[in-house]
């Protein structure tokens, strides 16, 4: 049963290569094969060669090639089993079969067909899956509509006489067919029985042998329209076994499994197009396109975040300005000064207001007037000067705001890195940001407007800083030497603490002083004993006044 249902007879005299479709390829061959239909030996197929291709399994009989050879599409195989053989029984491979939607596999009119879209004549040599799409334009082939066709339409062109037959057609005078009909319609109750049935399943009337026609109307609705496969050998009729009488089973089985895994018959039209484009120029172009798309998406995402941030920053500046105004307003009302103006503040300003103002100015958010932009000033040089004035304000605060003259960003420290300054200044401006180049151009003008003068300096590592005079090269060196002379050798952390600057910055400054030859170093790596009892002697660099200069020998002569 399985043989008949699932396989298709082929002419074995044709060599196997010619039997295959254009896109099918031969994977493995093995001779000395016997076929078991279900559990019984299929007598017609006991000695032959079996070929596995990427889409089908061919059995070519050794003796009667033409009549006993068949092919089995691999899509019908749902499961495979392997039996290694024992003593006299040979190894066997069991193929469990299932009929999966065979209608879609065999488009009507197997042969060359002309595509509707591009008028390309597709050759007949393609496998069923490939024959669904046009080879030139890739448009899927629209199958001619089937009018209530049966579950397995025949490949043979149907005689036109069939279509006119009604379900109650007589059994005699039927046109010749090459195959058994798929179902037999009962003359009494119109139920569509399995072709092998002798009596109707429902009403038990004897069935005609090969009656019915292909274009049958549907039978009276029942719970199931057709008989399922015969019950007694249900499982067996879905099984085919290959018996390897001359060995070669392992290799063949592996090849078969691989081919099954490949599932080449399931290629849908949409896959076929893109599969081929993985390599070659089109693949490269696709990859480039995808990359560009991804980049664009990422970029727009990132910029979205940035814009949101800018909106928030504007809000913050606005809030700071409002707070400032309110503070000024409240302080002037408490002072009860009729001539109050926004800019002047009285000494009786409450402490909290001063504190808030000074924190704002330290954060760089304080702006007394609107930021200076190019269009405000006519002359570029004048603009630079105004910018410098503004920056000086930011760095040092304004005398009018707080009582101490050193407010602003440089209130607590005399040395500050350039990137911090730039960030703070832009934050205070809020809008009309200053690009780095302009910032660098403004810096040389700073000393004119700052008191004490702020100058720029670049350290060894490339770090650029703004600093007040106490942190210039010479002044710093002098200070350090004085400290060492006074207090003896100091470690790096101690010096950093003393100066109030970060350790990294201290190290850089000290290295510069060392270059000038004013200090020498004592590296903690030279310690012999790293632990004295429980105290860990740190391996840090200590700095000494330079004792090598001017040293005279006072040891043994």
């Amino acid at each position: 049963m399985a043989l008949q249902r699932y396989t298709k007879s082929v002419d074995g005299t044709i060599p196997i290569q010619a039997l295959m479709y254009n896109d099918e390829e031969l994977i493995s061959t093995q001779d000395g094969i016997g076929i078991y239909d279900g559990l019984q030996k299929s007598l017609d197929h006991q000695s032959g060669t079996v070929h596995t291709t990427s889409q089908r399994l061919f059995y070519i009989d050794a003796t009667k090639k033409a009549s006993r050879s068949f092919s089995l599409p691999l899509s019908h195989i749902s499961k495979t089993d392997y039996y290694a053989g024992l003593f006299s029984s040979s190894p066997k491979v069991t193929l469990h079969l299932s009929l999966e939607d065979p209608a879609s596999e065999e488009p009507s009119g197997f042969g060359s067909w002309e595509c509707e879209v591009c008028a390309y004549r597709n050759p007949p040599g393609l496998s069923p899956s490939a024959a669904r799409v046009c080879a030139l334009c890739g448009v899927p082939r629209s199958l001619p509509a089937k009018s209530a066709s049966s579950s397995a339409s025949s490949e043979v062109p149907q005689p036109s006489i069939d279509s006119s037959f009604s379900t109650s057609a007589s059994t005699s005078a039927l046109p010749q067919r090459f195959r058994k009909p798929s179902s037999i319609s009962c003359p009494a109750c119109t139920f569509l029985n399995h072709p092998s049935m002798q009596t109707c399943e429902i009403c038990s009337t004897p069935l005609p042998k090969a009656s019915g026609d292909h274009t049958q109307a549907k039978s009276a609705p029942t719970t199931r329209p057709t008989t399922p496969g015969l019950n007694d050998n249900d499982i067996e009729s879905k099984m085919l076994k290959l018996s390897f009488r001359k060995g070669g089973d392992k290799v063949f089985y592996t090849a078969l499994k691989r081919s099954l895994k490949g599932r080449t018959w399931e290629i849908t039209p949409s896959n076929a197009g893109t599969n081929g484009a993985r390599s070659g120029i089109s693949g490269i172009m696709q990859a480039v396109e995808t990359n560009a798309q991804n980049r664009d998406t990422d970029m727009s995402n990132a910029l979205q975040d940035l814009e949101a941030l800018m909106v928030k920053a504007k809000d913050m500046v606005r809030l700071a300005a409002e707070l400032n105004e309110r503070l000024t307003a409240s302080s002037t009302t408490t002072a009860n000064d009729p001539y109050s103006s926004v800019l002047s503040s009285t000494p009786t300003e409450p402490e909290e207001a001063t504190f808030i103002r000074s924190s704002l100015s330290q954060l760089g958010l304080q702006m007394e007037n609107t930021p200076v932009t190019l269009d405000m000033m006519k002359d570029e040089r004048e603009w630079m000067e105004q910018l410098a004035r503004e920056l000086a304000n930011i760095l040092q605060g304004s005398e009018k705001v707080s009582s101490s003259s050193s407010g602003g960003m440089m209130k607590k420290r005399g040395i500050i890195a350039l990137d911090e300054v730039w960030g703070g200044w832009n934050r205070a401006r809020g809008v009309a940001l200053i690009p780095p180049l302009t910032f660098l151009q403004v810096i040389p003008h700073l000393p004119a407007f700052t008191n004490p003068t702020i100058t720029s300096r670049t350290l060894n590592s490339g770090l650029a800083v703004l600093h007040t005079p106490p942190y210039s090269r010479a002044a710093f060196a002098a200070r350090i030497c004085g400290l060492l002379a006074l207090a003896g050798p100091k470690s790096t952390t101690e010096i950093a603490q003393e100066e109030g600057i970060t350790i990294g910055l201290t190290v850089e400054m000290l290295i510069i002083v060392e270059e000038d030859g004013d200090v020498c170093r004592d590296d903690g790596q030279s310690v012999i004993q790293e632990k004295k009892g429980d105290i860990l002697v740190l391996g840090e660099v200590n700095w000494w006044a330079n004792l090598f200069i001017g040293y005279t020998w006072d040891g043994q002569e």
Binding site: R521, D522, S526, I528, Q529, F548, I549, G555, Q556
Partner: protein
């Protein structure tokens, strides 16, 4: 901070700079480094003369229990010379001809010339003539290990060889091959300078 000199257990007076921790660090500043290295070379030369040591190796800064402990380490201030620094100092000594890599073609151990080979040649000839071994054949062993303590005791063979070579240039010595190794014969100087 006042630094003081220190006398070692073997009677060697260490200079005050030896008590300064920065002395044990290789200074990045070139002039400080040259001054410090100079002092180190002086210490090494004088100590080797004092203790009659002839070689120093870079390993001596990594290990303890040898003759150079007192100099390369200072327990009181918890500092020692690192091998990299010692290697640099030895290289400086070799370049100033105050030492030589021995055995040659490596840079881990040197022979210290706290007395130059020429000076050794003079001392050798002096001793040979004063002990009355002129015109006789002497083995190297006899020179380096005489029964009576001499200024040449413990002299390393390579240095001895160098001294003999110098003497042979002025015809005051001659190397002779004998059964057990090598021998040398000394001649009186002819009075020429």
């Amino acid at each position: 901070m006042a630094l003081s000199t220190h006398t070692t257990t073997t009677g060697f007076l260490l200079p005050s700079i030896h008590s300064a921790p920065p002395f044990f660090t290789q200074q990045p500043h070139p002039s400080s480094l040259s001054i410090a290295t100079e002092q180190w070379i002086q210490i090494i030369l004088k100590y080797s003369r004092h203790r009659r040591l002839f070689t120093i190796r870079v390993e001596d800064s990594e290990t303890t229990g040898h003759d150079w402990d007192e100099v390369l380490r200072n327990e009181r201030i918890n500092r020692k010379v690192l091998p990299s620094y010692l290697s640099y100092i030895l290289a400086q000594m070799v370049s100033q001809k105050l030492a030589a890599y021995e055995p040659p073609k490596q840079d881990r151990s040197v022979l210290i010339y706290w007395r130059l080979p020429e000076e050794w040649a003079e001392v050798l000839h002096e001793w040979v003539s004063s002990t009355g071994h002129l015109n006789t054949i002497m083995t190297f062993y006899e020179i380096t290990d005489p029964p009576i303590e001499s200024p040449l005791s413990g002299l390393p063979i390579p240095l001895l060889r160098q001294a003999i070579t110098i003497l042979s240039k002025t015809n005051r010595a001659q190397i002779i091959a004998i059964a057990d190794g090598e021998g040398v014969r000394f001649f009186p100087s002819t009075g020429k300078a």
